[in-house]
Amino acid sequence: MNKVLMSGNNVIGEAAIRAGCRFYAGYPITPQNELTEYMAEHMRNAEGGIFIQSESEVAAINMIAGASAAGVRVMTSSSGPGISLKQEGISSMAAQELPGIIVNIMRGGPGLGNILPSQGDYFQATRGGGHGDYRTIVFAPGSGQELADLTMDAFDLADKYRTPAMILADGMMGQMMEPVIFKKPKPRQYPEKFMLRGAGGGKSKFIRGLLLDPVDSEAHNWKLARKYEVISENETRFEEHRLDDAKLVIVAYGTAARIAKGAIKRLRSHDMKIGLFRPITLWPFPEMRLRTLSATVKNFLVFEMSTGQMLEDVRLALQGYADIEFHGRPGGAVPTPAELANVIARVYEQKD
């Protein structure tokens, strides 16, 4: 297959359509507008494709929930404030076990913040985000190619586990142009019995939300919890970069990991033994692998474009078996690899 040069936002849109997404609803917000526009343009040419510019992000998430119940592959996208508005709907999709993809092209926050790349929504994404005991699968792509691959995979996993999944990228990933190859999507495997399409001559079905009976409600929560456990066991993904001889391991995801790779390249040319551990799924977090690493590596540096959110998961994973330093740039600040290299070098030399 041919390589094509596309912006990150467009890659997500194209990958979604190729994966069989046939319903998209969204509301404009920078820095993800290109994705909404891409869907407007290209859903028209996809057989059965439906695009709706909704009246709000709240409407969009409830629209995709409805379309998902009807048995269609669905996606919505937004950023910061809009993702906050979707949270009740995401919680409800998790509760009603409706598959669907939510794309968050993160921008600076809190509040309206700004439209620059940021990673301040990690807690929101990985802790469920809305109310109640639930999780969403969260992918953090680190390149154009991963935007394509993981978007397709996200649809498969959302179906497989009947749960919403999130693509968590940022303004930088959304804008950047990279060559990508779109893989061949797998055929959809989603049983009709989960689709609500009218009873026909048979028994009617319902998908409920309110579980007034505490016995039902607790059982439902445990059922979801068991599902999340299976996801944790089977779907954790990460990348290890130059770890074999590393004395200091940077832990970073998405854009931060790209910057870290640039920094590591520089530092390696000065003989500093530095590697990168990059979570690709933020939930489930690659906790076990990180803990195993602490048997051989004693120094970690978490780098995030936030004041320190994934940092908490790294602490939980390492359980005090290794030292953890942190470097953060919140609010839309994006350091260059050279700047980050200076920070890393300082830490490295202290530890050496």
Partner: protein
Amino acid sequence: MAKIVFKHPESLKENIFHYCPGCGHSIVHRLVAEVIDEMGIRGITIGVPPAGCAVLAYNYFDVDMIEALHGRGPAMATAIKRCLPDRVVFSYQGDGDLAAIGIAESFHAANRGENFSVIFINNAVYGMTGGQMAPTTMLNQRSTTTPAGRKQSVDGYPVKVSEIFSRLDGAAYVERCAVSSPAGVNKTKKAIRKAFQCQLDGLGFSLVEVLSLCPTNWKLSSVDSCKYIDEVMSKVFPPGVYKDLTGKTGKTAEARP
């Protein structure tokens, strides 16, 4: 052989309603089910119940149903109908659901001319949460959050949904009825049937507003509740056909693929 003049609608399950005695929801459920039976559309109907007293409607209707979040029924119904254009889709909503928290979803679904029907239960209070002020609570009407009666100066005016929605170009059929009398019940049933026919004909958005009894929160007997609808509510919310494009041909049929 005796002729059957009354039977349990097939589109209604045998479950016993949890609604308070005299509640308008029970009446309207039955009417919707009868219409579904009579039109022979049980197998192609998908209902979207709300958060509100009708939250458990899926226990009663024997059609496919998905419960919406509070106010978001029209967003769900929009998507379901777009994905399955040959199904009959209805959202069932209270006044808080439609005219307060979900006004945006309702308004824009109507304005887009989404080809589904809304059954709108106006009981002038928040029934489920215990009788607080609704957007349709009338001036001077007492509720648990307007203990001295609704005051225009702080609470604004009752929202007149049929009047407002009938002004939207996407709305094809809007009628307000009342289930406070046998004649009103019959009219309501006809209106529901017309709304469903309207969507089968692909004409666009239809809404049936029903002035509906909430004896519990009105603190009135069922009989007095009927009187209250006829003598008080109907003055603020006059029943009638607010918009009807169902007779016209060609209208908006091309707007919906």
